[in-house]
């Protein structure tokens, strides 16, 4: 059983193709592993019957010579994706027992290519959080622990369930979403690979909306090549999302393993922040050395507005969220609370249905959009957002990709940062800039800290240049040779 679940997606697909094992065997092994891993709280809904049914259908297609690109591969799906006839809650009480009557485009693409769904993965409520602690289902526990310690650590957020499930070999890969770092920071905290593609690569149709101008779907996977295989299936133009880009989706996996000789890698000096652990600083230096050895030219670049990205984000994202989440009124779906009149029903429904962090962000968003403050806050943030995007435009004049740390720390203990919202927000200091600018960025596991916890490095590319991002990520992965897995305690 453990042999099948420890495979990469790539090697599992090869095994299925060569009939070394069937999808039913592969899926049954994963179903058993998911059941045995409930202490991690990674899945909020297991769908073993559906998984085995899909696996049997995959085996029939493989036998008939009609296998798709992901035929028979069991995946986990973040609970933000609408899955037809399978509960989707965004891990919020307000969606209660919501059973989508349609399939998101991203999951439809994956299932159309033959992927098998193991169940729905835990996350921060409406993807608002960096530690998974805002989930209505309780936090995911990181499979990693400090060496010799027993404290429960966060897997990061918001895609904490996706990252933990991949790290613990519960699935061959998982869908995730990233509005400010929600794919990359959890990937860094769990020793997995996560890519947020260019804004518009993946359709947002059927993905529960948080901040529509920032939200992008992407995969969390065991290797760079696996992430490339998954993204190739997930991406593509979709007329149902007006921001979906009408561009070709290349075979991203074909760029992994290519030579990076002669590529110019920018190192932004503003990403050296106060209080960053020395180990992250030295890992970054190590990453620079690895890429130099691989033939890259290293150039120092300046992104002067970096420190303003998080404050700008905490206007733009709550503003869009306050508008998007206005739909939860208790009338057409989800929770409906009691009240003396219509307004009271709305107010009580939303008070009971939304958790504390979601309420806080809706209030901030409503405030910055309200009469008298719109220009001073919202419009100002949109102008700063352009300044941040222009920083990157200037950087591309002298380099082809950027190398930075993914997060300013390793995984921290559950409960450690819940009392201070700003300390929690600072998790995303290195990732949020690319959401504002719409650029592709990947986190690659590159080493462990003194306590044995994984650390990630981030690569950022030009818009629609995932090809270069995957090539450099492949080189980084090869040089880092990160093989550590969490010791099984669950």
């Amino acid at each position: 059983m453990s042999e099948l679940t420890s495979l990469t997606l790539k090697s599992a697909l090869e095994g299925l193709k060569s009939r070394a094992f069937s999808s039913v065997e592969l899926t049954a092994a994963h179903v058993a592993t998911v059941e045995a891993a409930r202490p991690l709280n990674a899945f909020v809904l297991e769908t073993p019957d559906k998984a085995l049914e899909m696996a049997a259908a995959s085996d029939a297609r493989i036998a008939a010579g009609e296998a798709g690109a992901l035929e028979g591969a069991p995946l986990g799906i973040k609970d933000l994706f609408c899955t037809r006839d399978v509960r989707a809650t965004a891990c919020s009480r307000i969606l209660g027992n919501f059973i989508p009557q349609y399939e998101s485009t991203v999951t439809a693409n994956l299932f159309g290519d033959g992927a098998v769904m193991l169940g729905k993965l835990n996350m921060d409520e409406f993807a608002m959080g960096s530690s998974n602690e805002t989930s209505a289902f309780g936090p995911v526990i990181n499979p990693w622990k400090i060496e010799g310690g027993n404290q429960s650590l966060t897997p990061g957020g918001s895609s904490g369930g996706s990252a933990a499930a991949v790290a613990a070999d519960l699935c061959l890969g998982a869908t995730a979403t990233d509005t400010g770092g929600s794919i990359r920071q959890p990937a860094a905290f769990t020793g997995t690979v996560g890519i947020k593609p260019t804004y518009g690569r993946c359709s947002r149709w059927g993905v529960v909306a948080f901040a529509s101008s920032l939200d992008q779907a992407g995969p969390i996977a065991k290797t760079v090549e696996d992430a490339a295989i998954l993204l190739t299936s997930m991406a593509g133009h979709d007329a149902k999302d007006s921001t979906s880009l009408d561009v070709e989706t290349p075979d991203f996996a074909s760029f992994v393993g290519r030579s990076v000789k002669g590529l110019r890698i920018g190192v932004p000096k503003e990403y050296r922040v106060d209080g960053m652990p020395a180990e992250i600083e030295s890992l970054w230096e190590q990453g620079i050395a690895w890429l130099r050895e691989a033939g890259c030219e290293i150039v120092e670049v300046s992104l002067p507005h970096t420190k303003y990205a998080l404050p700008a984000y905490y206007i733009v994202a709550p503003a869009e969220a306050s508008s998007n989440l206005a739909r939860y009124d208790g009338m057409r779906y989800g929770l409906r609370a009691e009240g003396g009149n219509l307004t009271e029903i709305y107010e009580n429904t939303r008070a009971q249905g939304f958790g504390a962090e979601v309420q806080r962000r809706i209030l901030i968003g409503t405030y910055v959009l309200s009469a008298g403050y719109y220009d001073a806050y919202y419009l100002k943030a949109l102008k700063v957002r352009r300044r941040i995007a222009e920083d990157f435009d200037r950087a591309w004049e002298t380099c082809d990709a950027l190398l930075t740390p993914t997060a300013p720390s390793a995984a921290f203990a559950l409960g450690e940062r819940t009392a201070d919202p700003i300390a929690m927000y600072l998790n995303d200091v290195f990732t949020v800039t690319t959401n504002l600018a719409g650029l592709p960025s990947i986190s690659v596991p590159a080493g462990v800290d003194a306590q044995g916890l994984p650390l990630g490095l981030q690569l950022i590319g030009r818009a629609l240049d995932e090809a270069t991002v995957f090539s450099v990520a492949g080189a980084l992965e090869k040089a880092a040779a990160f093989r550590s897995k969490p010791a099984k305690w669950w």
């Binding site: 409503t366 100002k380 102008k383 700003i422």
Partner: protein
């Protein structure tokens, strides 16, 4: 500018979220702390900068104004808290 309990009361009303009187002051302190941190944006010179509303330079596509789907009443009301004969049942809004 400081955010006080009365501002939170007003904003919560706009956002249609019931916050008990005892919760207004703590929420005001939290939001005020966050907004004070956000105020550093004032340092950025944004004179003459065009607001950035989209991460990609794309014009909104238009499609033909035709019916593309429909006739799925059961699915539309499937998740409703209350329905009768394929209609949403909502509280009385006109006295």
């Amino acid at each position: 500018m400081a955010i006080d309990a009365s501002t939170v009361r007003k904003v919560a009303r706009l956002a249609r979220i019931a916050i008990p009187e005892s919760g207004l002051e703590p929420m005001a302190r939290e939001i005020d702390g966050i907004m004070s941190w956000i105020d550093q944006l004032a340092e950025v010179d944004t004179d003459g900068v065009e607001p950035m509303t989209s991460a990609v330079a794309a014009t909104l596509p238009l499609r033909d104004d035709v019916v593309t789907d429909g006739a799925m009443v059961e699915r539309v009301v499937f998740n409703a808290p209350k329905t009768v004969d394929g209609f949403f049942v909502v509280p009385k809004v006109v006295e």
